[in-house]
């Protein structure tokens, strides 16, 4: 398997001993692990960001807390599933973390299986997300091949409008709409208005 596709787990914990213990457990379970002693260290020096994986994050750290790190990652649009480790979790903290998109919330001390299951799920999610992103990127690239006029026609077709109305809206003849429609169907390699609508929806969701 391509090394760049092998998952890499990132462990951020200020407690050196626990950090070493996590590395030992996760490596014994066959994972590859990168460890950081603070949220800042992770932000500044995340190793191999292209590889899939997840972030195992101690929620309580002296300088930047786990939640703050999660918020910053969200702001930067970094999609990396987060598993929080916490000594004592109060409800507000859990809610906050989940809103920010946390994958899991594990109370210390934990059973190894619980952590490993959570990690598996998170990595799967990352992989799925990456697949999704890849697919979206392909769509976006195709959509970006359309001319501005074709894109206008495509949006209106996706809304389910007939050619005549589209022509009126864009102040062009129905015939011209017919031609654009044929071209963009060819460019996007689709065969129906329903297909087009679906594709437009997926591509726009990502904000690409």
């Amino acid at each position: 398997m391509d090394k760049s596709l092998t998952p890499l787990l990132h462990v951020v914990d200020d407690d050196a001993a626990l950090r070493r213990a996590l590395i030992f457990l996760l490596e014994s379970s066959g994972w590859q692990v990168a460890a950081y002693d603070s949220a800042e260290a992770f932000l500044e020096g995340r190793r191999e960001p292209t590889r899939p994986g997840c972030l195992v994050l101690d929620i309580r750290m002296p300088l930047m807390s786990g939640l703050e790190l999660q918020r910053i990652l969200n702001d930067r649009g970094v999609c990396l599933p987060v598993i929080f480790l916490t000594g004592h979790a109060d409800v507000s903290m859990v809610v906050q973390a989940m809103k920010l998109g946390a994958c899991d919330f594990i109370e210390k001390p934990f059973k190894d299986q619980t952590l490993l299951d959570a990690i598996c799920q998170a990595v799967r999610r990352d992989l799925a997300q990456r697949d999704e992103n890849d697919a979206r990127r392909v769509l976006c690239e195709r959509i970006n091949k359309l001319s501005p006029r074709e894109l206008d026609v495509a949006r209106l077709v996706a809304e389910g409008l007939p050619n005549k109305i589209i022509g009126l809206r864009l102040d062009i003849s129905e015939r011209t709409v017919q031609v654009h429609r044929q071209h963009l169907m060819e460019k996007l390699d689709i065969h129906s208005a329903a297909e087009l609508a679906q594709m437009m929806l997926r591509a726009c969701q990502g904000g690409a």
Binding site: A17, L18, F24, S28, R60, P62, H88, K108
Partner: protein, 591 residues
């Protein structure tokens, strides 16, 4: 004292003496004078001793002996003035003269009935045969007792000692004494006449009178009779030595020796008197000491009863005063004791409350920090669990790198110690305890407080400890309490700087010596505090923190004051921040 004397015509004897004396005067420079106790008058004395000078003169050639018949006080006076070479007197006066003027016995008289020179004479205490209520000397307490004279040996003193031994102090008036004087028969007469319940006479008088038909022995009985083996008479007392002949201090040794030899070689007199080697008069001495008379007379005046007798009215007055004083003192003492006990109880209660409050405060610190505390315990626990489970997986996967396994194991052990330490610190801090002061370096206490606080507050700002104390400086204090104070001050400092950027936070702890006191200053760099707040900081239940109990600083203050110091706060110089400073006086130099 000795009866059965042959009554010789006094004038005849006197002329004899004078004749002899005149001859002696012609032959020698001066006569050798013998003072003789004439306790029953000169006639009796001459009757007893009249032949002695002549017999001595015959035995000691070249010396003329002269007998001076003197009553007790005169005899003493004559010895005092040095007018006598020899003294012949009764045992009791001899003991006095020996003690007072150093006269020394050279021979002791022996009566025919005497067992030895040391056991010759005692007292017989008589009562009527029909007195069944009197069998022992003690029975005579408070009764009337006829005796011869207060200085008569057999006729009073020997018996008096036995009375004393039986608990009846005749000298102190435990019985009503009647001194009848000589002849001794009068004592018996007084008894017979019912004027006395008992009579004290010298030993063998009873037997002699009976032999002469002057009384019927069956009419009398002897109280507390004892029968020394071989002694022919009834006695109520031990036997004592009889009269000694003593030499005064300045007599020529040759003469002394010659007289002693002469006396011992004299044949018994017609009345049966003979001379023996000088007896030990220790028993007589002891009698005097027991009775506290004669040379021991001042013993009596210094004993309580003696003093009581002499100074009764004054003593009574003094006693009343004393009792009054004592009552007052006891009353005052009792009051003082009661008040002191009340005060002590109140203090103990206050101390107990103080301890409770301190304990509460410690618990509240722990309570406020329980989250961090759980975190601190969770960390090692999680680490241990993670390693242990990791090991299981490592081994299950067939890997056998012993170095890896050993390393994981080491980590587990280390984490166990870490958890243990957390628990230990917290427990030591939280448990109830009594104050215990010890001499210790305060820097160690500060370091421990920092260590504990690091456990409780993981985001504790850096603490800079500046120890300016001389090396080895110790502070005698309750260091756990001091730790509590330091913990409070440092936690407050940390709280005050919570809003500051991390690199701007710092707590400084300075230890120094000022005027013999150890001074500890805890300084933060927190935002400015209003003077009003500053003034109220030490008030109980005043707190600037939303969840603060407001007891921390109040308790710190009372702890420092209990150590004789003061806790103050002032703005940090230079601002911003506050400096909490307390001093601990050197308790050892204060004593």
């Amino acid at each position: 004292m000795h009866s059965r004397r042959l009554l010789t015509a006094f004038p005849v004897l006197l002329s004899l003496l004078l004749l002899w004396a005149a001859g002696a005067l012609a032959a020698e420079a001066g006569p050798t004078r013998i003072g003789v106790l004439a306790y029953r008058g000169p006639e009796e004395a001459v009757a007893s001793w009249g032949e002695l000078p002549a017999r001595l003169a015959r035995a000691v050639p070249g010396h003329r002996f002269e007998m001076r018949l003197l009553a007790g006080p005169e005899l003493r006076e004559a010895v005092r003035r040095g007018e006598l070479e020899f003294v012949l007197t009764n045992s009791s006066q001899y003991v006095s003269l020996a003690a007072e003027f150093g006269v020394k016995r050279i021979a002791t008289v022996m009566l025919p009935e005497a067992l030895s020179s040391e056991q010759a004479i005692g007292s017989t205490v008589l009562t009527l045969a029909n007195r069944e209520d009197v069998t022992q000397l003690a029975d005579l307490r408070g009764k009337r007792i006829a005796a011869v004279a207060s200085d008569a040996f057999g006729g009073y003193l020997a018996a008096a000692r036995e009375f004393l031994g039986a608990g009846v102090d005749l000298e102190a008036g435990d019985a009503r004494l009647v001194f009848v004087g000589f002849p001794m028969l009068q004592a018996v007469e007084a008894l017979r006449a019912g004027e006395a319940d008992a009579a004290i006479v010298r030993t063998c008088l009873l037997e002699q009178l009976a032999a002469k038909g002057m009384l019927r022995p069956a009419d009398f009985k002897v109280v507390s009779q004892r029968r020394p083996f071989g002694f022919p008479c009834a006695t109520s007392t031990p036997l004592y030595p009889d009269w000694p002949l003593a030499v005064t201090r300045d007599v020529d040794r040759q003469l002394e020796k010659a007289v002693a030899m002469a006396l011992l070689s004299l044949p018994p007199s017609p009345s049966g008197l003979s001379w023996d080697v000088p007896a030990d008069y220790q028993s007589v001495n002891e009698l005097y000491r027991d009775l506290m008379i004669g040379p021991y007379a001042d013993l009596r005046t210094t004993t309580f009863r003696g003093v009581l007798k002499v100074y009764r009215p004054y003593l009574l007055a003094a006693l009343l005063l004393l009792v009054g004083g004592l009552v007052h003192v006891v009353r005052v003492e009792t009051l003082v004791k009661r008040r002191t006990a009340e005060l002590r109880r109140a203090q103990a209660r206050a101390r107990e409350l103080q301890r409770e409050a301190e304990h509460m405060a410690r618990l509240s610190i722990l309570g406020e920090m329980s989250g961090t505390l759980a975190h601190e315990l969770n960390q090692p626990l999680t680490t241990i669990a993670t390693y242990a489970q990791g090991l299981e997986r490592y081994c299950a996967s067939g890997q056998t790198d012993m170095a890896v396994i050993a390393e994981a194991n080491r980590e587990i052990v280390a984490q166990t110690a870490r958890a243990d330490q957390v628990i230990r610190r917290v427990r030591a801090f939280a448990r109830k305890r009594t104050a215990a002061r010890e001499a210790r370096a305060i820097a160690d206490t500060v370091r421990e407080a920092i260590g504990l606080l690091t456990t409780l507050l993981p985001d504790l700002p850096k603490v800079l400890l500046d120890d300016r104390l001389p090396p080895g400086a110790m502070v005698e204090a309750d260091h756990l309490q001091l730790q509590q104070v330091l913990l409070n001050l440092m936690r407050n400092a940390a709280d005050a700087m919570r809003e500051l950027p991390a690199d701007a936070r710092a707590i400084s702890v300075v230890l120094e010596r000022v005027d013999g006191d150890t001074v500890v200053a805890v300084t933060d760099r927190g935002p400015p505090v209003s003077p009003e707040t500053l003034a109220r900081l030490f008030e109980p239940f005043f707190s600037t923190k939303p969840d603060g109990l407001g007891l921390g600083l109040a308790i710190c203050k009372s702890i420092i004051e209990a150590h004789g110091g003061r806790l103050r706060v002032e703005p940090r110089d230079p601002p911003p921040g506050l400096a909490f400073r307390f001093n601990l006086p050197d308790s050892r130099s204060d004593g």
